[in-house]
Each structure stands twice: as structure tokens, then as C-alpha cells.
Assembly symmetry: C2
Homo-oligomer: 594 residues x 2
Amino acid sequence: MTLIYKAPLRDMRFVMDEWLDAAAWWREVPDWQDLDSPTAQQVLEEAARFVEERIAPLNASADLEGCHFEAGTVTTPAGFRESYAEFVAAGWPTLSLDPEHGGQGLPQLLDVALQEMLAGANHAWLMSPGLTHGATACLQTYGSERVKRELLPKVASGEWLSTMCLTEPQAGSDVGLIRSRATEAPGTDGYFIDGSKIFISGGAHDLTENIVHLVLARLPDAPPGTKGLSLFVVPEWLDGSDAGRSRNGVYCEGIEKKMGLKGSPTCTMRFERAFGWLVGEPHRGLTCLFVMMNAARLQVAMQGLGHAQSAWQRAHAYAQERRQMRALSVPPGATVAPGQTSPIAFHPAMRRILMELRAVAEGERAIGYWTAHWLDIAARHADAAERENAAQLASLLTPIVKAFFTANGFAAASNALQVFGGYGYIHEYGIEQTLRDSRVSMLYEGTNEIQAIDLLVRKVLPDGARALDLLLRHMRAEAGLCRESDPLVRCAGVKLDELAQTVERTTQALKARQAQDPETAYRVADDYLAMLGWMLLAFAWARTLRIATPQRDTDAFYAEKQETGRFFFDYPLAAFAYRRSLVEAGCEAALPFV
Amino acid sequence: MTLIYKAPLRDMRFVMDEWLDAAAWWREVPDWQDLDSPTAQQVLEEAARFVEERIAPLNASADLEGCHFEAGTVTTPAGFRESYAEFVAAGWPTLSLDPEHGGQGLPQLLDVALQEMLAGANHAWLMSPGLTHGATACLQTYGSERVKRELLPKVASGEWLSTMCLTEPQAGSDVGLIRSRATEAPGTDGYFIDGSKIFISGGAHDLTENIVHLVLARLPDAPPGTKGLSLFVVPEWLDGSDAGRSRNGVYCEGIEKKMGLKGSPTCTMRFERAFGWLVGEPHRGLTCLFVMMNAARLQVAMQGLGHAQSAWQRAHAYAQERRQMRALSVPPGATVAPGQTSPIAFHPAMRRILMELRAVAEGERAIGYWTAHWLDIAARHADAAERENAAQLASLLTPIVKAFFTANGFAAASNALQVFGGYGYIHEYGIEQTLRDSRVSMLYEGTNEIQAIDLLVRKVLPDGARALDLLLRHMRAEAGLCRESDPLVRCAGVKLDELAQTVERTTQALKARQAQDPETAYRVADDYLAMLGWMLLAFAWARTLRIATPQRDTDAFYAEKQETGRFFFDYPLAAFAYRRSLVEAGCEAALPFV
């Protein structure tokens, strides 16, 4: 039994139309006046068709086939080259790109939904176009006129793919240790780059005729550490106006043998007198990359959501088919003849796993899209103060969704695998690949531990940081609305209010403790992030309950939403108190060295 | 950097000599009067040498090479055949076998320690001899005289390997659905077996010249369900006294492509007029297998422990080597020069993971060996009532350690992988293999959900079940001893007492609730099992603290034990309250159907 991914269009529509009411806000943006829900849904339906028909079927075969490296050249799995060409031809890379750069100018929200689909269908495939938006934004903002003229259009359209070259063997989480060097290329407007980079996704491949590398390196006068890093754009092929294309000094030296993501080549790259142009100011390379890294982190969060969705779909389908033993009870309307076995979906241990898979995936969809929605507001709102608030919220939410969604995506894969029993361990059922592929998202684009430190130490604790207040205000506003509704919704509102209060109090206590013991924040950051993650899911489900409950008798979709929301508050939310108890432990007890 | 497994001999000695004081009890058994701690340690040192030098180095290569299937024949990875022959020649399979059957008659405790080493060093390799003890016990107890004469000696010595053939495509957790048939073979003392079996570990291989299959099948007059299953022993080769060896009707039809455990062939088997002998009485096949399955479940628990130990070793070694960023604090005595980076082992997020890996692995070692110790008492105590109590305790502990240790082993692998950052995802660092290999133990020998139901529904809730009382009595006795010690130990004792009380109260409430709603136990079983698991680790660490604290100034080993024990009560034990809150949720809230 192999389940092919189905995009959750009905739930996407629910989140956009009802949970976010995105169209109401689109009407306030001049460019989006004509964008209504049916148009947006049509875009998503087309995306779903492409992803389901062209991308999802390549997932298992690409895992088996992997990428091949020979003499500096990388071959991607069968079907990747053709389907990527179709993806570009259909204009998917430019969905949210500004029309003045040749894009369709749609909200990032739609792009994020597309990313969720691609991740759920075929994570390895998504890796190739994964950096297109980030590289486009980076070159748009910081590229020279020449770079914008010669490179940007092909990067933006997806005709050329991009990479982000940061990591070196000695420099992973600590990019300040980067050693690659850049020296002026005499008589030109550029530089020569020399150095070695590892873990470069798509460093070499056969999908596009050129690859544009964004490389961190040090200029000769660079100060040590992160303040001496400059960003360079280094195309694999240079376009000499007279002499035609010439090969730049960029070499792939090998690809990694990885746990998963086998369809995506992870390359070791050598830059040897590689010609490139400076992007942004000297020594300000990290600033230039921020725009790219934030987009990448939200996309990685969508990978977590995509895997959670895929895990839920696979486990749900299997649990309906597979019959073992007789369950004590059956759903209303179902019958199991005497002496017959039940679908395992009827057994309580399986229902518990399945409901949790569903509650997490659907709750995360609301929160992930909410984050993208704030990015749209930050980019497009008419009012500067609104833009600033939205940007702060998005910046606070980004590390949370990156770490929380990816950890949940991996946990979902493992829990779903358990539903399959022994079959879960076998390649042909697909779920073991989900588990292997999903694990990487907890590591790259900043490990989840780095995200937690970014959240707590840089965005919550500093004096004057107000993003958390903004966030809690949204929680309380929703709680207030819920309290005016029927008893089930009211309970959710009361609970959400309590959670917001707990987060506020815990944060205050943490600040006080941090003043005495500066290691406190580093001890508790992971649990603090998870606490906020669970609060956000409670927010997602409180609002969902408020919307769904009055409609529960009109459509099974809302009745199921109501049941799932109730389940969320009964069971999975217990993790909030657990994480809080660990934050408190970390405020009290020092950690030994090992 | 590839870390080769090192057996934790110092900690094994601590558990056996101080935590269990096993030698004191050995002196009470006539056969073990001469067995003292130095002798036992010598056995473990020899085992460690063999495992470290011959088995561990084959782990990564076997994963890459895998097993090969061609025309019904399975080839195991390079080195397996030779090392297995050495294993047999050195007498390791017969370590705890009765001397009257040619064994060395040592306690099962030592065997369990050997299993832990093999699992930590090379789980796939361990799969081959994994069923030798169970098959031996089964044939000893239930085999006919002929079977005991012709098959048992070679099974017991490991000269022939064994399999357990239960699962069929439609019959996994629900063995009652087994369809394989057995009919009398006219003019012989045996039967013909026909049917298909899947997921048979070592169903075919090149390690031994014969393979002895234990097969569940139905006799013609069998009632439906589990009460109609009979057990047969079916050798791959039959020893015709006149005509020499002849091939039996047992065929391997293929091997599975799995997530991990690639060095162990998982076979699809076809039995076609395969000749075999009945083992035990007709229709009582499951009873005959129980002795085998219990041994197998404890061994699977040891796999969880082995992986936890291996994960801890790997992460610890890597965290000492890898330097990134500057930590806020350094261990006493260590210095980091200004401007230098620290080993990542100094960073709080890593210390938290590393300490938890250590606390879980070492705590589990005490509890796992304690379980084996009860099995020894159940087998050898002079007093029948003591034997009965010990058997009940071991029977209660077996599903707990199987499910709890294997879930923790997988979690440990994933947490340890996180310490490696991006390198964790790469094959050559070894930890991703630990993650893949460890996952299977949550599935086989009864999924962890089946273990939880076995524990709660069969061993705790029934009227008159007294095993839990016995267990809690041990917790309270330890708590009492701790309360007579210094403040840190006293706190641990108080906490352990509270945990025992909570378990008792939760169990009572659950019984009451179960009387009204028979689905309750099935909803909460997994969390209930985990609650007991965390209580047992608290027991392990309370006793460890009691032993280590007075000696902390004499030896760094005890000082580290004390720090780890304190950490356990500060941090990981928070999971107990979390699981308890989920048990309570399950007592209150019904689960929807999905």
C-alpha cells in the first residue's frame, strides 16, 4: 500500500477564509483588490494538481535512487529535471514575486501553502527551489546594478537555482569561524573567492544550466568573528559577453551519504579563484543574509508541517484499511459483524495517535499561515506602525515555528510509523522515509537549539522587546471572543487566557532569574520555545472551535473540527504544563558538566 | 569521526556489585557458590573484548552493505559469518545454559549484560543469535524426546540458529488470524506445514548449516482464534539417518528493504509440505511460545538500553571534540583562552541533552539488570514462595522495560543526533544508523502499545493481581533506606515515596473508572506504562544516590553518579507528572473516532 500525497485543500481554504479571513485584508491592499477567495483557491487547486501528479509520485523512487556523483558532476533522480522545468515554465517560482520583476505579485501566504504541499509530497524535490525566494530577496535588496541586471532575473524566475554557502567543516552553528577568503580581482568589479564549504544543498546538479552561489567569506581587512563576514554572489558559469560562457572556479568535490533526503544532493564545494561580486557592504554579509535566512526558516517550518500532514494522511489511510482484533467500541453508524476484526482505527491506542497527528497538523497550519500573513502585512500594510508590529510578530514567530514544527514533524512521523506496526519499518509503506526525511529540518537553517536561543535571548529577554506582548495581546483578544460563545468554546477561551498569563509570569520570573544567573536562559530556551509553541496551538484551536462550533450541524467538516479541538485541549495540550515545569526546573537547578 | 563502541564495564560492575549486590545472592545458590564478583567481571571483560574487537567494527559496514537475496539464498554482510563462528566456538551462546545441557550455568544476569553489549555494538548482528535462548528454553520444556535428542543440542550451542515464525500478512498484533496449516504426515511422527510467514528475522542466511524454525500453524480440527494455534519445529534441513541431509519444504522468497537493521535479513518465508514436529500440546502453541517471548522481550529491552548507551557515548565523545562559540561557563579546572571557542559539551543546551542521555542509560541499566536478577531468583531460589514472587515481578517488569527502554533508546538516538548538528545526518558519524536501527525495537516482539495493554489490562487491573503491590513495596523499602541518609539522598527517598503513592492512587482511580467505562484502560495504557517506567528510573537513581553519596570523595565515579542522580530528579523526572496528567485525561475524556 503506497499512499500518494493529497493536498489538504479543504483545510487550507478553512484557514485562509475563516481562520485568517485573509481576503478581507487583501481588499485593503491596492494590488490585491481583485484577489478574492475563489481566485486564491484556484491557485491552490492548480498547485495541488501539479504537486500531486508530478512531484509526489517521484518521492519514493528518488529515495531509492538517490543522487549520483561522478567526476565533479551530480545527477539527480529520474524525473526531477523534467518536473523542475515544468515548475519553472508554469511560473510557480514567481508566485509572490513583484510584477515589476516579472512575478505574479500574489501574497506570500499562497507561496507558503505551496511550500507546505511540496514538502509533504517530496521534501527532497523541494530542496532545489528552496532558496529561490531568499536569494531573490537578497539580490533585490543588496545586489549591485550589474548583479540585478545579469543574475537576478534568472534567479527570480527559477531558471537558475541558488545555494547558500555558509557552513565550513569547523564553522557550523558558529559562522564566525568561517575561513573562506575573498580578494579583489584586479581590473574587474569583483573578487576571487577561495575556500571550502560543506553541506551545500544543491551545490551541483543537472536541473539548471547555471547555479548561483551566495557565499560568505572574509575580505583581507576583515575583523575576526561574525563582523568580518562579507557576502558574495558566485555563479557557476560566467557570461563573458565576448567569449561566451566560461566555467567559474567552483567545484563539487562529493556528496554526502545521508539518513534521508536522498533525492537532494548535499555537496562539498571548493571555491578556487572563483570570481564573484560583493553583495551589500563589506563585513555586513550576515545582515544581507538575514532576509534570506528568515524566509528559509519559515520554509523549514513548512517542511515540519508538510511532514506532519503527510504522516497523518498515511497513518489515517492505513488505519482504516488494516484490521486486527476486535475493538471495544465502534464509531456511530459503523458495525463490525460478530467474530470479525475491526479496522485498527477503532482501537483506542491508535485513535489517540491519529487524533494527535491531526490536531497538531491542522493547528500548525493555522499558525504557520498566520506567520506568513504577518509577513504580508509587514510588506504591504499602508500604515508604517502596523508594518512594524507585523514584522516584529513575524520575527518572533519564525524561530518558534521553525523549531516547534520541525520537532513535531519528526515526532509525527515516528508516531504515525507506530500505527503501521512492523510494516512501518519497511520502505514500501513510505512512512519510514517520512521519518528519515523529516529529521533534517531540526538541524539545518540553524539547529532547533539555535532557534530557541534566538527566540529567548535575542527576541524576548532584551529590555524593550515588545514582540511577546504583541503576541500575548492576540492570545487574549481571541480568549475574549471565545468567552462570549457556547460552553465548549468558553472553556477553550478560559484555558487560552490562563496559558497567556502563565507565559507572561514565567517570562517575568525568567527575567528576574536571568539577572542573577546569566546561564538560565540558555538552560531553559528549548522548553520555553516549546511552551510558546503549545500556547500557539491552543490559540489555533480556540479560534477554530469558535468558528466551527456554530456550524457543526451544517457540515461534517466543522463537526470534526470541533471534536479535534476538544481533543486537543483534553490531551496534547498537557505538553504545555510539562514544558513549563522544565522551564521552572531550569530556573532553579544548575546543570552539571559531563 | 567514527566512535567504536566501548562496553560500560565500570557501570556494569557498579550495578552488579553495589546496586544489586548480586554476589551475596549467588552465594545462596549451590551451583553459584564459587561465583564471585571478580569471576563475573572477568566474564564481562572477555565479552567486552570480543564485542568491541570483533562485532562493533562490523556495524557501519554491515549497514552499508546490507544483506543480499538471490534465488532463495541470503548472504549476510562481510564478517558476520566468521565472527558468528567465533562466537559459537567461544561458547557465548551457552553462557547461562544448564551444565547438564552443555552450558556454563551462569546467571541470566550476565547474559543480559552480554546482550546489552551486542545491541550497543551492532544490533543487526545480535539479531542472528537473538532467539537461541528462547528456542532452547522452548524445546527444553516442550520438545519431544526426539526433538530434544536431534535438534536441541545444536540449537542450544548456537551451531544451528533459530527463528520464530508467527507473523503472516493479515496477522500481526492479532496472531489469532494466523492461517498456516498443519496436517499429519502419514507414517511419521510429524506434520506437514503449509503457509506463508513474513518479517522472519534470519529466516534464511549463510551463518549456520541449518536453521530451526518455530512455526505457529493450525491443525485440521483447530478452533478459530488464538486457541487453535499449535507450535511446530521445522528444520530447514532434515537429517535422514540413511539418506543423509535432505532439504525441507522451507523457502525464503525475499528480504525486506527496511529503514535500518540492514545487516539482518528480514525474510518472507513459504512453508510447502514442510516436515515438522509438534512442540507441546495441540492448540497450545501460544503457551509454548510464552517462555520464548518473555526472554525475547527482555532482550529487546536490552536493545533499547544498548542504543541509549551507544547514543550517549557517541554524543559525549563528539561534544568533547567539537568546538563552537564560547560558553558562558566552564567546568571546574577547565580553561578556555580568551577569544577561543569552547567544546560544545560546555553549552547548556548540550549539557542538558548529554546529562539526560547518561541519566536514562545508567538508570535503565540498573532496572534492566534488576529484571534479569528476578528471573535468576525465579529460576533458582530455594524457597517456592520467593520464586513465585520473583516470577510475578519479572512478568510485570518485562512489558515495562520492553516498551519504555525501546522508546527511550530511539529518543536517545534522536537527542544524541541533535548534538552532532548537521553531521548527525551523515552516515559516517554513526548516530543516524543508531536512530534507524533503534526504531524497530518499538515495533517487534509485540508493539509497545501491545506491551502497555499486557501490563495494565492483564497484569495490573485483574482482581487479585499482586505484582504491582510487590513492586511498590520495593520502591517504599528503598525510600525508607534513603530517608536515613544525608539531605540529597533523603530528598530522593521522599520523592520516590511520593511517586509510589501516586502510582497506587492513580491505579485505584483507574480501576474505579474502568468499572464504568471499559475502554479507559486502553486509552491510558501507554502513559500508565511510561509513568511506571519513570518511577523505576527514580528508584534506580534513589538507590544509586544512597550508595554513591557516602563515597563521592573517594572516587570521581561516585561524584559523577551523585551529579547525574541529582540531575535526574531535577529534570528528566518531570516526565512522570506529564504522563500522569495524560492518564488522568484518559480517565476523564473519551476519545473521538477519526
